[in-house]
Every structure is written in structure tokens, then in C-alpha cells.
Symmetry: C2
Subunit: 143 residues, 2 copies
């Protein structure tokens, strides 16, 4: 046949690795706060970038806008974030973490740091190389 090899096929390998790692980490924020993946990602984007819009969250995290919309609604219900309509463009809503949201983010970002440290330790190689490659992959995939 062909010499196609699934074990070195990049989409396949990336997915497997991403799934394995994400599930491991997801367990931490799920057990701790009952967060879903889109909720954690939205929280992280907000904690990281502060005062951004839902559209920006979607762009930055590569999540679908409906996913973001629902995650934002759910975080608002928890009172972890609040919205402020932009005064100049009233289509736009700025999202900001509440004190409670900030506290949860601070806690989870520590958990994330520990997780990353543990992963890198087991990895042997450092994370910088991997991140460079992933950036290259993303750029290659988007043109």
C-alpha cells in the first residue's frame, strides 16, 4: 500500500497528547470548583489578560463564540465576572473578574503552575522547545 504511518501523523499525535494532558488537568479544576473546560479557559483568559471582550476570549483561546458566550453566562451566574457595556460601542461588553473570580483564578493559576512544573519534570526536556514547535504548527495550520 502506501507508507502512511499513523504513529507519526501529526494531527493524530497532537490530539492524543492534548487529550491526555487536558483530561489530567481538567480533573483538578473540576474537582475543585466544578468548572467545565470552556469555563476554565475563559477564566484563565480573563485572569491573564484582564478586561477583554467575549470575542477576544474566543480569538485568544480558539474557542467557538457560542462556547464562550455560554461560559461567560455561567461564570456571571457564579458571580465570578461582571460585564460593562462599552460606552462608545454598545455592541461591545467588557468582561471583568469580580473579587471572587480573581480569588478563584489566583488559586487555580497556582494549581496550573504546579501541574506544569510536574509535567516538565517528567518530560525531561524543557517546555520552551515544545512551545516553539507548537507555535510553528499553529502558524503552519492557519495558512
Amino acid at each position: 500500500m502506501t507508507d502512511f504511518d499513523l504513529d507519526t501523523f501529526i494531527p493524530y499525535r497532537l490530539n492524543r497528547a492534548a487529550e491526555a494532558v487536558s483530561q489530567r488537568f481538567a480533573k483538578l479544576y473540576r474537582d475543585r470548583y466544578g468548572l467545565t473546560r470552556p469555563e476554565w479557559r475563559t477564566l484563565a483568559a480573563l485572569g491573564q489578560l484582564g478586561r477583554i471582550t467575549a470575542t477576544q476570549v474566543a480569538r485568544h483561546s480558539a474557542m467557538h463564540k457560542t462556547k464562550v458566550s455560554r461560559a461567560v453566562a455561567s461564570l456571571e451566574e457564579r458571580r465570578w465576572l461582571s460585564r460593562e457595556t462599552d460606552s462608545e460601542d454598545r455592541r461591545v461588553e467588557w468582561l471583568v473578574l469580580t473579587r471572587q473570580g480573581q480569588a478563584s483564578y489566583a488559586d487555580l493559576s497556582k494549581v496550573a503552575l504546579d501541574f506544569q512544573a510536574g509535567l516538565v519534570a517528567k518530560l525531561g526536556t524543557d517546555a520552551a522547545t515544545l512551545n516553539r514547535e507548537l507555535t510553528a504548527v499553529e502558524q503552519a495550520a492557519s495558512r
Copy 2:
């Protein structure tokens, strides 16, 4: 706060890269045959490993067993695969590609090879390094 940085956080980066690449490639087999992702992965595992069970497909691809079960049912309906109950252990069903399934796999594996080649070309670096790192990540995540 903390020095947590989302842009170098491995789960986040892996997911973004995996999504970007998978969506690109998914378009190819979707447009060509209307396959879903679990269906393609199951086909690929079978074409690659030949005569395996659903459980083995799940293990190899890291897909949930219900996903595999449904993908197998759907590929069977297309007559791309058939089942043979094991004669010694009648819980086990061996899966084999039909002639038609083999033909589709042969076609798609060419598409996959082209895709991979295009990706690697744009990537600059070669794929072997990336694959080594992904293997390391998977192992690190699973213990």
C-alpha cells in the same frame, strides 16, 4: 499575583495546536466522504493495524469506547468494515475492512501523506522531533 503564563501552558497550547491542525485535515475527509472524526480515526486504525477489536481501536486512538462503538456501527452500515465474532471468546468481535473500506483507506492515506508533507514543509523543522516530544508528553501525562 502569580507568574502563571497561559501562553506557555502546555495543556492550553497543545489543545490549540491540535484543534487547528485537526480542523484543517478534517475538512479533507469530510468533503471527500462525509466522515466524522471518530469514523476517520477508526478507519485509520483499522487500515493501519488490520483485524483488531473495538477495544483495541479505543486504546490505540485514545477515543472513548462509545465513540468507537458508534463509529464502527456507522462504518459497518457503509459496508466499509465487517465483524467476525471470535470463536473462542464470543464477547470479542474482530473488525476487518471490506474491499471498499480498504479502497477508501488507501485513498485517504494518500491525502493524509500529502497533508503531512505540506505541514512539515511549512513547519521548517522536521516532524521527528515533534513526535518525540509528543510521546514524552503522553507518557508524562499518564503516570
